[in-house]
Symmetry: C2
Subunit: 348 residues, 2 copies
């Protein structure tokens, strides 16, 4: 054993050769089959032998070669994560949730960004499949967009996270309609009755969803929206700023609250209100959507906003993919996961 522990390892390309189960077996004076059984904890064997092998393995800093195991077991304990939003704000928490859920079960995550060019994206998917990923998670920055790569023919399980998938696939999205209800219910609970909705471009699926939650929550309370239709613009601070000015200019009177389609719009709107001497939340309460900390916390006053729980969404996607990989049945369909309201000072 001592001899084994300090024998000089043969050089390999300038680096120390890895120590294999062969080395462990030799130093423990057992066969590699026995060494394997001892280390895996499987089967019955003399306790003394098992302990001895384990000690030797430790002394040699033996690290089992997962590649060899994967080849044998036809399971790599590796998944692929595709995203078309490397810079973005949405995929990041989703990724973190996926990673967190899987890394605990010994599964590692290949990250791969598929951008506009679908040929490049497809070749990345091919690379993942060659590396024998056990499954793939497709994630994106828009609920209503597909990735540019075709995953329908892939022969491993696929789960979609914050991303549109084909008919009959398994996916997770945030329940933006219900999230919008939370926001509006909060405003109403504070006594606000003249509530406007300033939001993003109507061709984003989330826009009508959030607008529906807004309208439904008001309707349940017997209220009508402050403007007949939601005020639609782009997702920018500039639009929020402009929307505020439009609202203030209306001779028909002002709203006492605004539910914004995202935090940037809310930020711009609050800035404009402040510049015009309108108190937030005193005169007009504001709620945003996204809980993008860097905006929500920096707004003056800090912004109450809807958080989509994207990390949780990622966790669900990861665990569900694991179910599929391990053969547990999962019914197809898209699950909408709940949002939560994060209360800060902008709504009183």
């Amino acid at each position: 054993m001592d001899e084994a522990a300090d024998r000089t390892l043969p050089a390999r390309n300038g680096r120390a050769a890895r120590v294999t189960i062969h080395d462990v077996a030799r130093a423990s004076e057992v066969s590699i089959a026995t060494a394997s059984k001892a280390l895996s904890g499987q089967g019955r064997m003399a306790v003394a032998t098992r302990e001895r092998v384990k000690e030797v393995a430790k002394a040699l800093s033996f690290r089992p070669n997962a590649i060899a195991r994967a080849l044998l077991k036809q399971r790599s304990f590796t998944i692929g994560l595709l995203t078309d939003d490397t810079y973005g704000r949405f995929t990041l928490p989703v990724m973190a949730g996926i990673s967190e859920a899987l890394v605990d079960r010994g599964v590692s995550v290949f990250l791969c960004s598929v951008e506009r060019d679908s040929a490049v994206g497809q070749s990345h998917v091919d690379a993942m499949l060659e590396k024998q990923v056990d499954g793939i998670i497709a994630s994106g920055k828009r609920l209503d967009r597909r990735l540019s790569v075709d995953l329908s023919v892939v022969d491993v399980p696929v789960v979609y996270a914050y991303c549109e998938g084909p008919e009959g696939s398994i996916g997770f999205v945030s329940d933006d309609r219900a999230g919008a209800c939370l926001a509006v219910e909060r405003l109403m609970a504070l006594g606000r009755r003249r509530i406007a909705h300033v939001t993003g471009p109507a061709d984003f699926a989330v826009v009508p969803q959030r607008a529906r939650g807004f309208a439904e929550a008001l309707a349940r309370a017997g209220l009508r929206p402050f403007t007949e239709h939601p005020m639609v613009g782009d997702w920018s601070e500039a639009w929020g700023f402009a929307a505020a000015e439009r609202l203030l200019a209306d001779p028909a009177g002002r709203p006492d609250a605004v539910f914004c389609g995202n935090d940037q719009i809310a930020r711009g709107l609050i800035d404009a209100l402040t510049l015009r001497g309108v108190a937030v939340p005193g005169d007009i309460a504001v709620v945003g959507f996204d809980n993008w900390e860097i905006f929500a916390a920096a707004t003056r006053p800090p912004l109450t906003t809807v958080d989509m729980n994207l990390k949780d969404l990622g966790r669900h996607a990861g665990l569900t993919l694991l179910d599929l990989v391990e053969g547990r049945p999962v019914p197809p369909g898209v699950r909408a996961l709940p949002c939560r309201l994060v209360v800060r000072r902008s709504c009183g």
Copy 2:
């Protein structure tokens, strides 16, 4: 061949069995050795045979098993990317650059976030090593912080990207001093002479670096800083806002330009100036640092700022790791990569 192409593949766990080089060989009526040689493009062989094998492989959608190859070649074409900044703004472009540089060479990237808890982080590193990564890139959100895991004993090459490494390691950082010079030179070229520096906490390494660039550029032009010492606060809009008010209140007169330590500070400062009726860039020109689009482009007026070229930094780190993996010598040391100035309207 036809028979092979449409034979039903044996089921494997409910899914289609993967087609192996065995299947290709059988359908092409050659040995697997020949099939391998045909597909790899290596060695001399009858052109007709090679073509036939290739066609069969295509017809069968043969996808070589990279795991088997990795086991044999002792090279996984996989690297590990560690970061302690899953949510953050810095690691993202770095990651994208790494990925981009490596994916083209057939190398896939395991993403792994190591947070506070170093025990968990270490176990992630172990998982990567068991999966036989060819090398590791450590990246972070601060140039002057180490990751919580110890990589000095790891037996694969390691490169540090926007992250502090141990003595004698190989790393890449941005040249913030030179970046600051760019900013100040621009302001001086526009005729500004009374230039202040409002920056972040002095215990961030980048703060003295940027301050040094600021001071050096001024000194070269025979100018002195508007305030004797840089104005130090935190990295927030709120601090920028407060700093503006302090500058305006000074009876000794106003600066005609401010170089800010980051874009958030610049944003807050510009907001405050605008509120007080000071024209940007007319009365006071402003330059930021980071080029965080979501701030820099949304500022009114849009912000001129220093971009650290982080994607490029990631690309360098990736390619350098590849050099090490493939045995090309790389001298140790930290390389500071150039920044670039992105000109928008805030500096005229």
